[in-house]
C-alpha cells in the first residue's frame, strides 16, 4: 500500500491538480490490515473515522489548486443553495459518477453519509475558515487508491467543463451572476496558455512490433504532457500488419507500457476483450479511412465548445435533454464535426456516429466527451490536428465570452 499511496500523490501533483507543498498537497490513505498515509496531516484524524465508517480500502483527499479551487468552490456553493448536488453534463460524469454530492463541513459523519451513496464528496469552502479551508474533494476506493485518483481527476475535469459551459450559456441568456463573472476573471490567468508547437514523433514506417508499441506509448505520454487529456482517460491505437495495437481499458495514457492489446483485424482472437471501450469505433474508423493512427483525448475547450448551443434553438429542440445521444443538428467546431454518442457500443454508442464523421474529416468531437484525430501513417499528424482543434476551440470560446461581456 505504501508504494500506491505515494504513487497517487505524485500523479495528482503531476496532473496539475495538487501541489507538492502547502494546503493543496494531496493526502492519500490505503488500508489493508493496517492504515497507511502518504504523509502526516491533521486531517487524518477525521479521515480515519471515515475509514471506520465504510467498507473501503482507500481514500484520496485533495484541496485542488488553482483554477480548480475557484471553480469547484463556486459550483459547490451554488449546489448548496439548491439540492446539494453538482450535476455536470460531460460524458465521464454522466456515465461513471452520475452527480457530485456537496456538503458544508469537514466532519466525518456527513462525509460518511455522502460516500455511502457515491464515489466522492465535495466539501464547499468554509464560510469562516479556520484550520481547514475548502473546497475539497474526497474520493474512496475498494480496490486501490487509483480509484480515488481517477475520481478526483474526473471531478476537477467535470467542474472545469461545467463552469465554463454554464458561464457561456448563462451569458447567452443574460442570466450570468455577478459571482460567476468574478470567478471567471479570477481563473482566467490560470488557464493553460495557447499550446506550444507540436513535438516530434517517431518516424514511420515502423520496422517491427516493438517499434509500434514504442510509438503508441510515446503518443499517449505526449498527449498527457500537453494537457490534452487527463492521464486516466482517452485512448490511442495504431494499425500494423493487419493488427490494431490499442491502449487497454482503464489504462493511463502516460503509463501505457504493458497496457496495449494487439487486436487482429480478422477477429481471429478475442484478445480485444480488455481493450479500450472505444475499440469498435477505432476498428470501424480504420476500415473506413485507411488511416493507421487514432488519437483520442479530452481537451477541455473541445469538450466545452461541443456543448455550446444557441439558446433559442435549444429551447425549441425536441431533444434538448438528450443532446449527448440525439442531437439532430449538424454541428461543427470550425471544420471539425461534433457528433452525439455515449461511451462504448450500446444503441446510442459513439461507435455508431464517430466513424462516419471521421470518414469525412480527420478530426471529430463527441458531444461532451472528447476529440478524436487521425494520422495517415503516424501519430505526428494526429497530434498536430488535436493541438490545432483545441487551440481553435479555446480561442473561439474566449472570443464568444468577450463578445457577450462587451456592453
Amino acid at each position: 500500500m505504501e508504494d500506491l499511496v505515494n504513487k497517487y500523490e505524485r500523479k495528482l501533483i503531476k496532473a496539475g491538480l495538487g501541489d507538492p507543498h502547502g494546503p493543496s498537497r494531496p493526502l492519500v490513505g490505503g488500508l489493508d490490515a493496517t492504515l497507511v498515509w502518504n504523509r502526516k496531516a491533521a486531517e487524518t484524524k477525521v479521515l480515519e473515522k471515515v475509514f471506520q465508517g465504510l467498507d473501503i480500502n482507500s481514500l484520496v483527499f485533495l484541496r485542488p489548486k488553482k483554477p480548480y479551487d475557484n471553480l469547484l468552490g463556486f459550483l459547490a456553493e451554488t449546489a448548496l443553495d439548491s439540492n446539494g448536488l453538482i450535476r455536470p453534463k460531460d460524458c465521464e460524469t454522466r456515465t461513471f459518477l452520475h452527480d457530485l454530492p456537496v456538503i458544508e463541513s469537514f466532519r466525518a459523519d456527513p462525509i460518511i453519509q455522502a460516500l455511502k451513496k457515491r464515489k466522492c464528496v465535495v466539501i464547499a469552502p468554509e464560510k469562516h475558515p479556520g484550520v481547514y479551508a475548502g473546497p475539497t474533494v474526497i474520493a474512496q476506493g475498494t480496490v486501490s487508491p487509483e480509484q480515488g485518483f481517477v475520481t478526483v481527476s474526473s471531478v476537477c475535469f467535470a467542474g472545469f467543463v461545467k463552469f465554463f459551459t454554464d458561464f457561456l450559456a448563462d451569458l447567452q441568456t443574460g442570466t450570468a451572476r455577478a459571482l460567476a463573472h468574478e470567478v471567471f476573471d479570477a481563473v482566467l490567468p490560470f488557464l493553460t496558455p495557447l499550446q506550444k508547437p507540436a513535438p516530434r514523433f517517431m518516424a514511420s514506417p515502423f520496422g517491427d512490433e516493438e517499434a509500434v508499441y514504442s510509438a503508441v506509448i510515446e503518443a499517449g505520454r505526449k498527449t498527457v504532457e500537453y494537457e490534452l487529456v487527463d492521464s486516466y482517460f482517452g485512448n490511442v491505437s495504431y494499425l500494423w500488419n493487419n493488427t490494431l495495437y490499442i491502449s487497454q481499458t482503464g489504462s493511463s495514457l502516460d503509463e501505457l507500457a504493458g497496457c496495449i492489446d494487439p487486436v487482429p483485424m480478422d477477429h481471429s482472437t478475442s484478445a480485444g476483450i480488455t481493450a479500450s471501450s472505444e475499440l469498435s469505433a477505432h476498428m470501424e474508423t480504420i476500415l473506413r479511412t485507411k488511416s493507421r493512427a487514432i488519437l483520442h483525448g479530452h481537451p477541455k475547450f473541445c469538450v466545452i465548445l461541443s456543448m455550446d448551443c444557441d439558446p433559442v434553438e435549444r429551447a425549441a429542440c425536441a431533444f434538448k435533454d438528450q443532446c449527448h445521444i440525439l442531437c439532430p443538428k449538424k454541428r461543427f467546431a470550425g471544420k471539425t464535426p461534433i457528433v452525439p454518442g455515449e461511451v462504448g457500443t450500446g444503441p446510442t454508442g459513439l461507435c455508431h456516429t464517430l466513424p462516419q464523421a471521421l470518414s469525412r474529416s480527420d478530426s471529430a468531437i463527441v458531444y461532451g466527451h472528447g476529440l478524436f484525430t487521425l494520422g495517415k501513417e503516424n501519430f505526428s499528424q494526429a497530434f498536430h490536428t488535436m493541438l490545432e482543434v483545441e487551440n481553435y476551440c479555446r480561442n473561439t470560446y474566449l472570443e464568444k465570452i468577450e463578445q457577450l461581456r462587451t456592453p
Binding site: M1, D3, L4, G30, L31, D32, A33, L54, D55, I56, N57, R94, T95, F96, H98, L115, K116, K117, R118, K119, G141, T142, V143, S144, E146, Q147, V150, Q248, T249, G250, S251, V263, H267, S268, T269, S270, A271, G272, I273, T274, A275, S276, S277, L279, S280, M283, E342, V343, G344, T345, G346, G349
Partner: protein
C-alpha cells in the same frame, strides 16, 4: 410491501404438504433475498448431513426479480453440499426466478424425503405434487420435451442426480445450470425429479420512474464495458471470450494444473467455435447482455437439421475440457458439454476429476474413452462410480490425495492461482470451496475493473477479497448477475433497490448485509468442523512453476506471503487466527450464535 411478495412456500415432500411462511419486513430487510434468505433457512439445519431427511433445499428470488432492473431475474439455490459438506449454493439464470416471483412467491423451501419420484408443479398459488416415476431416468432435455413447459420454467435433475454423482447439477430451462455444489444430488436424494413453475402475476414497484433512471445508469455502464458489451465481449462471443485472455496471460490450467500454458489454445478459442458452430445469442429472461450461446455444427445445418442448437460450452468448460485434460477436439468439447447438461453434471468438476485420473493413471483420453467415462459417471457404472466422488474423493480413493486440484473438496475452475494472487486467496477462503465467484478478483486482476491491480502481488488483497465477498453475497441476494458488476456497482443497484422497495439504502448499507450473509456461512462451515486447515490451496501451487513466457514469469506462490495475506484476511473478517468465527463479531452482526 414492495419488492417482495411477503410469502415463502414451505414444502414437505415426505408429507406432500404445503405451508406458507410470511416473515415480517425486518426479515426481508436484513436478509435481502436469494443467498441471504437461503443462508438464514440453512442455519436452522446446519448441523445435519446433506442427505438427512430434514435437510432443506431452497430456491429464492430477490427484491429486484420480475422488475426492469437489469440482469436481476436470477434465482439462488441453497442447501448443504454433497461434494464438500460446506454451504452449497448456486446462482442460476433462465426464467426460474422471474416465474417464481410472478407466481407470488419470494421463494420456496423444500424439506423431507419422498419415497417415490416426484414432480412439484407450481402455477401461481396452486401447488401440485405429481408422480414422476415415469420420467425418472430421463435426461434433462428429454424431460423438457416431455413436459413442454412453454412459458413456464423447468428446473430438473438428470441421471447424475439420481445416481449419486457428488457434483450433480440442477438444469433450468435446458440451458442454464445451477452447478458446482452438487445440488442436483440433494434433489435426487429427496426424489424430486423436477420443479415446474409458472407465474402470471406482476411485481410491484414503489417508484417506477426512479427505477427507470437506475436502469439507464446501469445500462450506460454496461455499454461502456469492453468485457460485457464490447466487440470481443460476452455479448458477442459468450464467456468463451475469456479463453484467449487466459492463454495470453499464461494462466490457463493445463495438464491438471501442472502447467499454465496450452500450446494449441489459439486454435481452440471462441473464434474457432464461431467458425465451426455459428452460435446465436441466448440468455436469461430480463438480461440485455445475453452471454449464452446456442450453436449447431455447420455441416448439420447444411444438411437441413435446423433446430435451435445445443448450448455452446462456457469458458470454464472450454478450458478444462481442452487444456486441463490434453484435448484438442472442439467437437468433443461441445459433445461432452451437451452430455453433461443432459445428465445434469457439473462440467468443471467432471473435467477436473478426469484430469486428476489422467495424472494418476498416466493415460490420455480418446474421444471414445472420454465419452464412455462420462456416461459411466452419470449412470453410476464401472469406473464412473469412483469418478462420481469428484476429484478429491477419487484421488483419496486412489491413494494420491495430492493430485486433486481442489479446495475443501471443490475442484478449481480455469484460472490458475499462480497467475493471480487475489484469485489464490479467493479460492482458499471461499465458503463453498474452490470457487472463483465468491470474490471474483478476475475483475480487477484481469479485466482491469474498477481499476487494475497487480496480479502477482498480495499487497492489499486481503481487504479487497473481504470487501468483494461481501459485495458478491449481496449481488447473489439481490439475485443479480455478477457479470454486470464488471461495469456497474452496488451504487447503481442500491438506487434500483430503493426505487423498487421504497426503503432508503446505500451501497454501503447493502455491503453490511453482505458481510452478515458471508459471516453466517463461516459459522455454518465452522459448525461442520471447517477451519484454517481447509482455507488452503493444493501444495502444487507453492512448489511448482507455472509456464513462463510471453514476457510473463509464473513462479510458484510464496507460501509465507500467502499465509500472511490469509492472516490479514482473518483479522479483517473478524475471525480467530484459526479461521473460526467469534461470538462477539456474530453478535455485532446480529447473527445467531450457538456452541461451535
Amino acid at each position: 410491501m414492495y419488492g417482495w411478495t411477503g410469502k415463502i412456500l414451505i414444502i414437505d415432500v415426505a408429507k406432500k404438504s404445503v405451508e406458507v411462511d410470511t416473515p415480517d419486513i425486518d426479515f426481508y430487510q436484513r436478509h435481502v433475498g436469494g443467498k441471504g434468505f437461503g443462508g438464514k433457512y440453512l442455519r436452522n439445519c446446519a448441523h445435519l448431513p446433506w442427505d438427512h431427511p430434514d435437510m432443506m433445499i431452497s430456491i429464492f428470488t430477490g427484491p429486484l426479480t420480475g422488475t426492469i432492473s437489469p440482469t436481476s431475474g436470477r434465482a439462488h439455490i441453497v442447501s448443504k453440499s454433497p461434494l464438500t459438506g460446506l454451504v452449497g449454493d448456486s446462482s442460476v439464470g433462465g426464467k426460474l426466478g422471474t416465474r417464481l416471483k410472478r407466481a407470488g412467491w419470494d421463494g420456496l423451501v423444500i424439506k423431507g424425503q419422498s419415497q417415490t419420484p416426484l414432480g412439484i408443479e407450481i402455477k401461481d398459488h396452486h401447488i401440485e405434487f405429481v408422480d414422476a416415476a415415469g420420467v425418472w431416468g430421463l435426461d434433462t432435455h428429454a424431460l423438457h420435451r416431455r413436459l413442454h413447459p412453454k412459458n413456464g420454467s423447468l428446473a430438473s435433475i438428470g441421471p447424475a442426480g439420481e445416481n449419486g454423482v457428488r457434483f450433480a447439477s440442477i438444469v433450468v430451462d435446458q440451458h442454464f445450470t445451477a452447478g458446482r455444489s452438487g445440488l442436483g444430488l440433494v434433489l435426487g436424494q429427496k426424489k424430486i425429479k423436477y420443479i415446474l413453475v409458472n407465474g402470471t402475476g406482476s411485481c410491484r414497484v414503489k417508484n417506477p420512474e426512479r427505477l427507470k433512471q437506475a436502469r439507464q445508469d446501469i445500462l450506460r455502464l454496461t455499454a461502456a464495458s469492453p468485457a460485457l458489451m464490447g466487440q470481443f465481449g460476452f455479448t458477442n462471443l459468450g464467456t468463451g471470450a475469456v479463453y484467449d485472455l487466459m492463454d495470453n496471460r499464461r494462466m490457463m490450467p493445463t495438464d491438471n494444473f501442472q502447467r499454465t500454458w496450452f500450446e494449441p489454445a489459439s486454435k481452440l478459442n471462441a473464434a474457432a467455435y464461431a467458425r465451426e458452430f455459428s452460435p446465436k445469442k441466448h440468455g436469461c429472461l430480463g438480461c440485455h447482455i445475453q452471454c449464452k450461446r446456442l450453436g449447431q455444427k455447420l455441416s448439420q445445418k447444411m444438411a437441413g437439421k435446423n433446430d435451435q442448437g445445443v448450448s455452446m460450452p462456457e469458458f470454464e468448460t472450454m478450458s478444462h475440457f481442452t487444456a486441463l485434460i490434453g484435448c484438442t477436439d472442439t467437437d468433443l468439447v461441445v459433445t461432452a458439454n451437451e452430455k453433461c447438461n443432459r445428465f445434469g453434471m457439473d462440467t468443471i468438476s467432471f473435467a477436473s476429476t478426469l484430469a486428476c485420473r489422467r495424472e494418476i493413471k498416466g493415460q490420455d483420453y480418446t474421444r471414445e474413452s472420454l465419452l464412455a467415462l462420462l456416461d459411466d459417471t452419470a449412470l453410476g457404472r464401472n469406473q464412473g462410480k469412483d469418478l462420481a466422488l469428484g476429484a478429491a474423493g477419487y484421488a483419496k480413493k486412489m491413494g494420491a490425495p495430492e493430485k486433486a486440484m481442489a479446495v475443501k473438496g471443490m475442484e478449481l475452475p480455469a484460472y490458475d492461482p499462480r497467475g493471480a494472487y487475489g484469485m489464490a486467496l479467493g479460492y482458499a477462503l471461499s465458503t463453498r470451496g474452490g470457487c472463483h465467484l465468491r470474490a471474483y478478483p478476475i475483475s480487477h486482476e484481469i479485466f482491469r475493473k474498477p481499476v487494475a491491480t497487480d496480479r502477482f502481488s498480495f499487497s492489499g488483497k486481503a481487504r479487497i477479497i473481504k470487501i468483494a465477498e461481501d459485495m458478491n453475497a449481496v449481488v447473489d441476494s439481490l439475485t443479480a448477475c455478477k457479470f454486470t458488476f464488471f461495469a456497474a456497482g452496488l451504487e447503481e443497484y442500491a438506487a434500483a433497490y430503493e426505487a423498487v422497495t421504497g426503503i432508503e439504502t446505500s451501497a454501503h448499507d447493502l455491503m453490511k448485509k453482505g458481510e452478515r450473509i458471508t459471516y453466517n456461512e463461516r459459522i455454518i462451515n465452522a459448525l461442520n468442523q471447517f477451519d484454517a486447515r481447509d482455507d488452503d490451496l493444493p501444495q502444487r501451487f507453492f512448489t511448482e512453476n507455472g509456464t513462463s513466457g510471453n514476457a510473463v514469469s509464473v513462479p510458484p506462490i510464496d507460501r509465507d506471503a500467502f499465509l500472511e495475506a490469509r492472516k490479514k484476511y482473518y483479522e479483517i473478517r473478524g475471525l480467530t487466527v484459526d479461521g473460526l468465527p467469534r461470538a462477539e463479531k456474530a453478535e455485532e452482526l446480529g447473527l445467531l450464535w450457538k456452541t461451535l
